[in-house]
């Protein structure tokens, strides 16, 4: 197949056309119908249009909270391969909290603002719209830090089920966590960077994430596309993922500073020393049912960062689920629909009645 296309000029022209299209255009993403029900500053709360009849729906809505420095549409990447679509078909009332893109005026926004100002307001609206008192929350990556902090600081606010995906919560193992080494005190002057830029530029965050696996991200990824240019399914998946990967947003300066100083350098969350708006975050106060999902091949959040929470919370119903795969792959990769999504749904279903 490949040997024929090497000498076939028409086939090669088609391949080049496909390559050009994929590299220079954006794939149609986030197509599941939704309605904006709340907005504050750049943050928006969306409610997805249900796909099943009311009597078949779970009464407990699910709130999705993604990281603050990436676009959240990775959980609704493309039709037929969307976690949101999957959960809607399973009868969930799904909400998505999109933090938006911080501007220069947001450089002082920190984890306290996200956790105790924006998230509670969004949750209030969710409860009012769905007319419920209890809800489930799924936090992914930095979104999991916010979700965990909220669950610890507001344990009586109706949070019934907490799902943490690749949650960077424990920063004690400095040897395993590459970011901890890069952002350590003598190597990285966080104040100088933020003094210059205000917010942490998206390009720097993107470089940081890609540099953890430089060959895969800068070379292997494009070779995989080149090798599969004749396969429309692979090209479509690659195009959608590349659209998300290249759509980066900056991180609010004060939030980035807290991430580096409080968490990566001083591990204040797990030590019980993290203070948000004058309130100490004590993960021992978390009582919600807890599912922690770990990606075994995660270079961004190594598994050691997510395990410690299991022994610290007061939740009686808790489960640790470990899956082979990477930080994003476990939820957006080809195996997500076969392994991760059914497991989360299987756990959440009986707890959402």
């Amino acid at each position: 197949m490949a040997d024929a296309s090497v000498i076939d000029p028409i086939a090669n022209m088609q391949r080049l056309t496909t390559l050009n299209k994929v590299l220079t255009s954006k794939a149609p993403i986030a197509q599941t119908p939704k309605q904006m029900v709340w907005a504050l500053n750049k943050a928006k709360l969306y409610r997805y249009v249900p796909m099943v009849l009311p009597e078949q729906r779970h009464p407990t809505p699910l709130l999705l909270v993604f990281a603050v420095m990436n676009r959240p549409y990775i959980i609704d990447l493309r039709p037929g391969h969307s976690y949101v679509e999957y959960m809607l078909k399973k009868g969930y009332d799904v909400y998505l909290l999109d933090w938006g893109c911080p501007g220069p005026e947001d450089k002082n926004m920190n984890f306290g603002d996200y956790t105790l100002e924006y998230l509670p307001r969004a949750i209030r609206k969710l409860k009012a719209v769905s007319r419920v008192e209890e809800f489930s929350m799924l936090g992914w990556c930095i979104g999991a830090i916010i979700a965990t902090s909220y669950a610890a600081l507001r344990p009586d606010d109706g949070l019934r089920n907490l799902i943490l995906l690749t949650a960077p919560l424990d920063f004690s193992d400095k040897e395993t966590i590459t970011f901890a080494r890069w952002t350590a005190e003598p190597n990285f002057d966080v104040d100088k960077v933020l003094q210059t830029f205000g917010n942490m530029p998206a390009e720097f965050i993107d470089y940081g994430a890609k540099a953890l696996k430089p060959v895969e991200n800068y070379v292997g990824n494009f070779l995989r596309l080149w090798d599969n240019l004749d396969d429309p399914k692979v090209v479509e998946a690659w195009h959608a993922m590349n659209t998300w990967v290249t759509d980066n947003i900056p991180m609010a300066g004060a939030t980035f500073r807290q991430l580096v100083v409080d968490l990566y350098r001083n591990d204040r969350l797990m030590k019980g020393e993290w203070v948000l708006r004058g309130e100490r975050v004590d993960v021992g106060k978390i009582r919600a049912n807890l599912l922690t999902v770990i990606a075994e091949g995660d270079h961004i959040t190594p598994p050691c960062q997510s395990r410690a929470i299991m022994g610290r919370v007061s939740s009686k119903d808790k489960e640790l689920f470990s899956i082979p795969g990477g930080h994003i792959g476990i939820m957006a990769g080809s195996g997500a629909a076969k392994v991760t999504w059914p497991h989360i749904e299987g756990w959440l279903g009986p707890r959402s009645g």
């Binding site: 500053n41 078949q56 501007g103 190597n187 990285f188 540099a211 953890l212 895969e216 279903g349």
Partner: protein
């Protein structure tokens, strides 16, 4: 992979062999690079590069910002700082609106309690336990009948 006309097996595919070699080389390179970026030396080197970049770019950025500010003032145009202040004020207004929205929701909830009760969320989907209950029918009342 192409097969020969007699069906005696796969033809020699030079591209396939090259691709295998390439993938093998990439694997080795990838592992070596992951180890490299995990070293203290790499962390120090990137830190130094960042310092150098900031040292070179900061004065230039400051100069451009000052010049731009002066130019905008001369033209009686709002500057970046003015827009930032305006955006912060808008966010505060939005917060007050959200507070009012919360109060309105609460008031609406107080007035429409009967309606809310009627519009409660759908019942839980059938589980083995409640399916069993449905099949058996409602439990008989324990209250004694009075004549």
């Amino acid at each position: 992979m192409a097969k020969d006309a007699t069906g005696n097996g796969a033809q020699f595919d030079p591209m396939g062999s090259l691709r295998q070699m390439r993938d093998g080389y990439l694997d080795v390179w990838a592992k070596a690079m992951v180890e490299t970026v995990n070293t203290e030396a790499y962390a120090k080197a990137t830190g130094s590069m960042m310092d150098a970049y900031l040292a070179v770019s900061s004065p230039f950025r400051d100069a451009v910002e000052k010049a731009m500010l002066q130019a905008l003032q001369q033209l009686s145009m709002p500057s970046r700082v003015d827009f930032i202040g305006l955006a912060e004020r808008l966010t505060n207004v939005e917060m007050r609106l959200d507070d009012m929205d919360a109060k309105l929701d609460r008031i609406e909830g107080m007035f429409s309690k009967p309606a809310t009760a009627a519009r409660r969320p759908a019942a839980a989907p059938p589980t083995p336990a409640n399916q069993e209950r449905v099949r058996r029918g409602p439990r008989p009342s324990r209250r004694k009948r009075t004549k």
